[in-house]
């Protein structure tokens, strides 16, 4: 795998954008400016960016309740995202969906989803559409270790495997289904082991290593486009924040969190970019400053946007 300087910087910037977007979402939620729940992606940035880096225009993504990172990595507009989080009319869903329902069909982003395990059937359906239309597209499905116990995933894997659908199933194994450690909810530790039941490849990678995720996703997407069917990739990672903002996280130790913070994916990428001469410390500072401005502009846009009018309450409920 050899990536150009431009591509490397693009991926690095996306990781930083996700980090800063989420850190500011923490503040907005704490200030009571976000109605509803938010589930933050801090610590898992390498997975979203590594996977989406190789997707094209005809490809789809089915996301999860922890979906901000997936959309930013796919090219989502942080202004529209913040507006949606704050329930504003200018948001992705006109302020009526919130964090867990953000969707952008122009990006093939089928939506975050409030239901654990609801994404796999959507991805299988989208992959079927790709195959039916012969447009060489693939559908990527993100899900967590908790969702790997849902029947929806297994039905989707079964259909995808027998029909050789161009789908890639990405398990973001962050070790917890809400508050339950994986040890207590399944008798395996590698969700990749599930793949053998469907006769498809299943591999585990370090989900905090951008380049490991990229390589695995690149090969899986290539396989899907060639008509060889789906792949299950398990990305082992960790969410730094609670399951949702406000979660007291009494189910895990500070020591565990600190251990994983040492595996922070962003400094790992930065170090290699410095080693390769792709980035200098000065340029790195400029990158962070530039993205901070972009994030602030997004928040300002959202805050200055109007709330939906009461008269719009029943709009967009049904299709015309």
């Amino acid at each position: 795998m050899t990536l150009s300087k431009e591509k490397l910087l693009e991926l690095y910037k996306k990781m930083i954008t996700i980090r800063l977007f989420e850190e500011h979402a923490v503040e907005l939620f704490a200030n009571g400016e976000i109605p509803g729940f938010v589930h933050l992606y801090i610590g898992e940035e390498a997975t979203a960016v590594g996977v989406t880096a190789i997707l094209g225009d005809n490809d789809y993504i089915a996301s999860t309740h922890r979906g901000h990172g997936h959309l930013i990595a796919r090219g989502g507009d942080v202004k529209l995202m913040y507006a949606e989080l704050l329930g504003r009319k200018t948001g992705y869903c006109k302020g009526k969906g919130g964090s867990m329902h953000i969707a952008d069909m122009t990006l093939g982003f089928l939506g975050a989803n409030g239901i654990v395990g609801a994404g796999p059937p959507l991805a299988a359906g989208a992959a079927f559409a790709n195959k039916y239309r012969k447009d060489n597209g693939v559908a990527v499905c993100f899900f967590g270790d908790g969702a790997s116990n849902r029947g929806t995933l297994h039905e989707a894997l079964n259909l995808a495997s027998i029909w050789k659908l161009p789908a890639v199933f990405i398990c973001e194994n962050n070790m917890y289904g809400i508050s339950m450690n994986q040890e207590y909810h399944q008798n395996i530790k590698d969700v990749a082991d599930r793949a053998s039941a469907y006769g498809i490849p299943g591999i585990s990678v370090d989900g905090n290593d951008l380049f490991a995720v990229f390589e695995a996703a690149e090969e899986a997407v290539k396989r899907a486009r060639q008509g060889d069917g789906p792949t299950l990739i398990e990305c082992k990672t960790y969410r730094w924040r609670g399951h949702f903002e406000g979660d007291p996280t009494v189910y895990r130790s500070e020591q565990e969190v600190e251990t994983w913070k040492k595996k922070d994916p962003i400094p790992r990428v930065k170090k290699r970019l410095l080693d390769l001469g792709v980035l200098t410390e000065q340029e790195d500072q400029a990158v962070w400053d530039e993205i901070r401005k972009e994030i602030q502009a997004g928040i300002d846009f959202a805050k200055s946007s109007p709330l939906p009018d009461e008269s719009e309450l029943l709009e967009d409920v049904y299709c015309d």
Partner: protein, 343 residues
Amino acid sequence: MAVRFPFIRGMVMSTVGIIANPASGKDIRRLVAHATVFDNIEKVNIVRRILLGLDAVGVGQVLFMPDYFGIGRQALEGLTGRYSLKTKVDYLDMPVTWGQEDSLAAARLMDDLKVNCIITLGGDGTNRIVAKGCRQVPLVPVSTGTNNVFPAMVEGTTAGLAAALVATGQISWEAAADRMKRISIVLNGQEIDLALVDAVVLREQFVGSRAIWDEEKIIKFVATRGEAFNIGIASIVGGLYPLSPQDPNGIVVELGKGETKVLATLGPGLIMPISISDYRILNFDDKVIVKKETCVIAVDGEREIEVGPKDTVVLQLKADGPLVVNVKKTLDMAARQGLFKLT
């Protein structure tokens, strides 16, 4: 009751360490090649058979590396009734990190505790890590995949029997084990790693998903061994200049346009012609220098060391690798000494 052999249980306090890596067998080679899928339940089964072999010969104690899957614990859960063990089973007191650091820490602890033998379950990578932590204790490497050279595909029961014979001193380790070669890897003057089979210089920017499957990325490599039945880089050596683990030489091979081409099995199902521009036989302590190029060094099949344009790497063939028990030879010797005769 299970049949027990007339070994000298209790006369020698023997301890066997078991390091079973739950992470092996799930890497990208299942996607880019046709490698076996090796789930942890099968590792539990192998460990169960190993324990029965160790118990049959009368090993006093087994020490497990704790792991995130609980391979040792789950193996014991299946050993009840007629399969219950007399051998005492314990776990090393160490933190579990989910990483290869666990195998290194376990090997060091087992070395400190002076265990008589260590059984490893994993691939070349697992054994490399164990060898880094412990070079004097005889190893019985059990392969859990198709892409390995250092560990043998050996049945768990017979591996357990052989390890027990060595651990209890009924077959001396000097007779049962061979000293392997290794490659010392020195980065900017400091030894940072070792390889047991090969160290490969790759035209890569990142460690990434670790595996090697694209021959065009290979610049050159140093190998301690390679035979035609091997897979991976050792397969290239096998086709070019076969070297057994016992041969007192290594080899450095440069890939590129040249008159020599060999057909090699670079991975499971990945058979391809490899073009070689040059090669040279190495004696012990010979050095190969890599400098001033951005590359990645893969050790024993896994990309491990990212090298920058300002770095210098020295690869040196050494004779002081780990001791490895020859399972077949050990069991043959035991049989010839009448150790398996019940009456």
